[in-house]
Symmetry: C2
Subunit: 215 residues, 2 copies
C-alpha cells in the first residue's frame, strides 16, 4: 500500500530523501519517544508534544497532554502527527549546504477516540509499553477511576510520508576542490542515563536493560 | 511581558508545570536543534520538522524544509512552532502515573517572510549559527543565486507557553506504601558523537568543542 494516497503527503521536493516503504515508517515511529500532534483549533494551528504507540497500522495517542486538543478530537478530528529523529549536524564547505541528518515520519489522518473498554485498554497498553516497555506488567494496573479519566486517540496509518537524510555534505564541486573549509557530520544521538530510583527497590530488568541499551 | 496574552496559549491544566518567564522560553528555544512548524494548509493541519534560530524576540525559520508550507507562509501565515526536549522517562508505581520529564515551548503567531537583503541575511545567519555555531565565519558564504533561492520566515515571540516537568514520579500514597513496583526516572539526553570528516582537513575548534560539550 502506498504511503501517499493524496497530494497532502506526496513530497514535492528532495525526492531522493523520501522512503516509500512501510517498514521505514514503522522504524521511525517505533524508535521515537514522543510525537508532535498537530490539529486546527478554532482555525488556529496547534502543535503539542504527545506520547504515543503503534500497533500494526494504528497509532494510539495518549490523553494526558493537551486535554483541550484531545477534547476537540473526541468527535473525530483531522490531525497531523510527526515523529522526528535528529541524527547529525551536517557541516558543509558552504553555508548554503549545511543540513541535518534526520529521520521523520509525517502522518495525516482523522483521529477518533478509542471507545469501548477493550479498545481503550488496548490503546493504553500500547502507549504505556511504547513509553516504558515492561511497565504494563510491572506496575499497578489502571483502576476504574483512572480509566474513566484518561483519553486515548486512534489514528489509522493510512497516509504518511517518511524522509531520511543519512549522508555527508552535498557540496558544490568548486567548494570541494577549494578545500578551504572543514566538512563532515557531527553525529547526534539520544541516550539513556543511569536510572534514578525514587525508592530503595532494586532496578528491575526491564529498566536496567533499557538503560544499558544506549551505552 | 506575559507569554500568554490570549487564551490560545493560556494553559488550562497542569498549571504547576507551566513556566511563565521569558528566560525559560529562551532556554528551551536556544538549546533545541529543530522545531516542529505547524500550519493550516487548505484546511488541513501540517507539522514539519524545521531548522530555526532566535535573535531577541524574533524566531527565524529556515526555508530548506517544507518548501510548500513556506510558500503558503510567504504572504504571512498563522503558525504554531513547538520545540520539545525529552529529559527522562518517569516510571511510577502505577501505570497511570507514568510520565515524561520534558521541557517544551509552544509559540503561536503570524510568521512573515524576512524581506530585504539585510533582514534575510541576518535571519540566515541566525539560523545557521543556531544549527552550527561558528560556521557562518568558517564556511563559504552565501552567493547571489543561493540567496535568491532560500526562504527565511520571521516569527515574533509574542505569545508562547513553556512547560517543564523535571521531577520524580507523582504516585498515590497507597502505591508508595505498598512498595510493590519500582519507581524512578530514566534520564534521556541528546549527545554529540565524534565528528565524521568528509575530507582530510583537521576538525576545527568550533566543531571539536561542540562535540566535546556533551561528553
Amino acid at each position: 500500500m502506498t504511503l501517499s494516497p493524496t497530494r497532502l503527503s506526496t513530497p514535492n521536493r528532495t525526492k531522493h530523501r523520501t522512503a516509500t516503504d512501510r517498514a521505514a515508517l514503522y522504524e521511525v515511529l517505533d524508535t521515537g519517544l514522543i510525537c508532535h500532534l498537530g490539529l486546527v483549533l478554532d482555525g488556529w494551528p496547534v502543535v503539542l508534544p504527545t506520547g504515543y504507540g503503534r500497533d500494526g497500522d494504528t497509532l494510539y495517542l495518549h490523553g494526558s497532554t493537551g486535554a483541550r486538543s484531545l477534547r476537540a478530537a473526541a468527535g473525530g478530528v483531522d490531525v497531523c502527527v510527526t515523529v522526528t529523529h535528529v541524527d547529525g549536524i551536517v557541516y558543509a564547505r558552504s553555508v548554503n549546504h549545511h543540513s541535518m541528518n534526520y529521520r521523520s515520519a509525517v502522518v495525516h489522518g482523522r483521529a477518533r477516540p478509542a471507545t469501548g473498554r477493550e479498545e481503550k485498554l488496548h490503546g493504553l497498553r500500547v502507549v504505556t509499553e511504547h513509553l516504558a516497555p515492561g511497565s504494563w506488567q510491572h506496575a499497578r494496573g489502571v483502576n476504574a477511576k483512572e480509566f474513566a479519566a484518561v483519553a486515548v486517540l486512534a489514528l489509522p496509518l493510512h497516509e504518511a510520508s517518511v524522509k531520511i537524510r543519512a549522508t555527508g555534505p552535498d557540496d558544490d564541486a568548486e567548494d570541494v576542490e577549494a578545500n578551504a573549509a572543514w566538512a563532515g557530520v557531527l553525529p547526534v544521538r539520544q541516550v539513556f542515563g543511569s536510572p534514578e530510583p525514587a525508592a530503595d527497590l532494586p532496578v528491575p530488568d526491564h529498566v536496567a536493560s533499557r538503560a544499558a541499551s544506549s551505552r
